[in-house]
């Protein structure tokens, strides 16, 4: 329930969210150069579609937030990508609301940026460009490195969801004491999501390291889409 609908959170929280996300979005857009827009758009689309994949979990199924993975792959560009996804979901599918768009964006984008800052340097050390024998199409990332990549993804994915959960709870609690029980229930639903999201993010990172490390473009700095 990372998409808070309209009418729940209070005015101060709404205004903080709107201003905060506007600043963050402005900063992020400055980082993403026009030439990199196509790449950013396609990856944003891929994340949007991936978040529609329903992942079986116990007797039910969940949809992923993927903001940890987005932070790892997109860096700063994760912010506009998340905003675009939230806007579309609010307007065309009724998930979330219009006035809370800022709050929802912050709740997802801050954890994504945290993941980018904390874990991209670690991943970068895994896939430093190294010479491969000509004509060799074998993966250049060793199994141990993939396992480490999996662990980094696991941590990033789980952490991002837990952070988002905390932010959602905070948005509700700051809006009124009365939301405390609801916030607690919502917080609990984030726990299994964090577990499955961590697992999936780990799998995806290990997959990318093996199949196409270029997606991670880790030889470039955080704002890779700014000088792609």
């Amino acid at each position: 329930m990372a998409h808070i609908p309209d009418g729940v959170v209070s005015a101060p929280v709404l205004i903080t969210g709107a201003l905060g996300s506007a600043v963050l979005l402005g900063l992020a857009l400055r980082q993403v150069r026009e030439e990199a827009l196509p790449q950013a758009a396609v990856l944003a689309a891929a994340f949007f579609v991936s978040s529609l994949v329903s992942i079986p979990l116990g007797p039910s199924s969940v949809h992923l937030l993927l903001n940890g993975l987005m932070g790892l792959v997109l860096g700063w560009a994760a912010v506009p990508a998340l905003f675009v996804a939230l806007l579309l979901q609010a307007v065309f599918f009724g998930h979330g609301g219009l006035v809370v768009l800022g709050v929802n964006t912050l709740n997802l984008a801050i954890p994504a940026l945290c993941c980018a800052l904390l874990f991209r340097p670690l991943l970068a050390r895994l896939v430093e460009p190294r010479p491969t024998p000509a004509g060799e199409s074998m993966p250049s990332v060793t199994p141990q490195e993939r396992r480490r990549g999996f662990l980094i993804g696991l941590t990033a994915g789980a952490l991002a969801v837990l952070l988002t959960g905390a932010l959602v709870m905070a948005s509700l609690l700051l809006s009124g004491e009365a939301f405390a029980p609801a916030a607690r229930v919502i917080g609990i639903t984030f726990l299994p999501l964090a577990a499955i999201e961590g697992l999936l993010t780990g799998v995806v990172i290990a997959f990318l390291l093996r199949v196409e490390p270029a997606v991670l473009a880790l030889d470039q700095p955080l704002d890779r889409l700014s000088d792609a």
Binding site: S137, M138, P139, F207, R210, V211, E212
Partner: protein, 276 residues
Amino acid sequence: MPPEMGVSLTEASRVGVLAELVEVGFGYPGRPPLLQGLNLRVGESERIALIGPNGAGKSTLLHLIVGLLRPTAGQVRVLGRDCRSEADFRAVRGRLGLVFQHSDDQLFCPTVLDDVAFGPLNLGRTPEQAAAIAERTLAVLGLRGYGPRVTHRLSGGEKRLVALATVLAMEPQLLLLDEPTSGLDAVSAARLLDHLAGLPQAMLIVSHEQPVLERLTSRAVLLEQGQLQPVELHRHAHAHRHTHLHLHASGVTTDHDHLSELPVHAHPHADRQDDD
């Protein structure tokens, strides 16, 4: 008529029919009906070509047979079993091997071995069994040693062969091939055809290409206006005027006589893929 005889007759007519569509109707939501009152019966060891214009519904027909789509009218019978629900189809899907039009849609695992083992794992094999089946299937298709390679980096022809392997690993009784050679060059296509021709399975093949029809199929059906019509496939000599690309190494005279060799013209040119 003694009762045993009646039983055996019915049995005989059932056994040997791998897949059957009876008066099947289908349309995508919000579109005019695509298939109407369509009948098809694929018998054991039959090899049927399915032809028809773009958008006639050929791929749709294959998807109906494996239950990826559900008909709006009529029945789908697979291996003598009337299939209606997802559960029915799940039970028989392992027996039907559908090779998609684009291999890229079919290969999503990091390595070739993972991808080929995916089907057997879904059918309940243990990881060890699945890996063994996968290795065996790859060997059959001449892909020994491809196991650890990254699917994403294979060439178009190799991808097509691996896609075939992923399906063969499930040991299907009927192969459904959707334009198996489209987008392949002459050499890769010939290699794929060699492998297909050597397989024991019954096949339903969507294709327009002469070499495919020639080598693989025993009869053909044409899908048009939602229905199937039988089409005869036979071989004989033709002569008609058409443009032909001729590769002349520079310096060689080009005023040779093309007509003298009629009616049997042995192409001495290196224009294999343009040779229709």
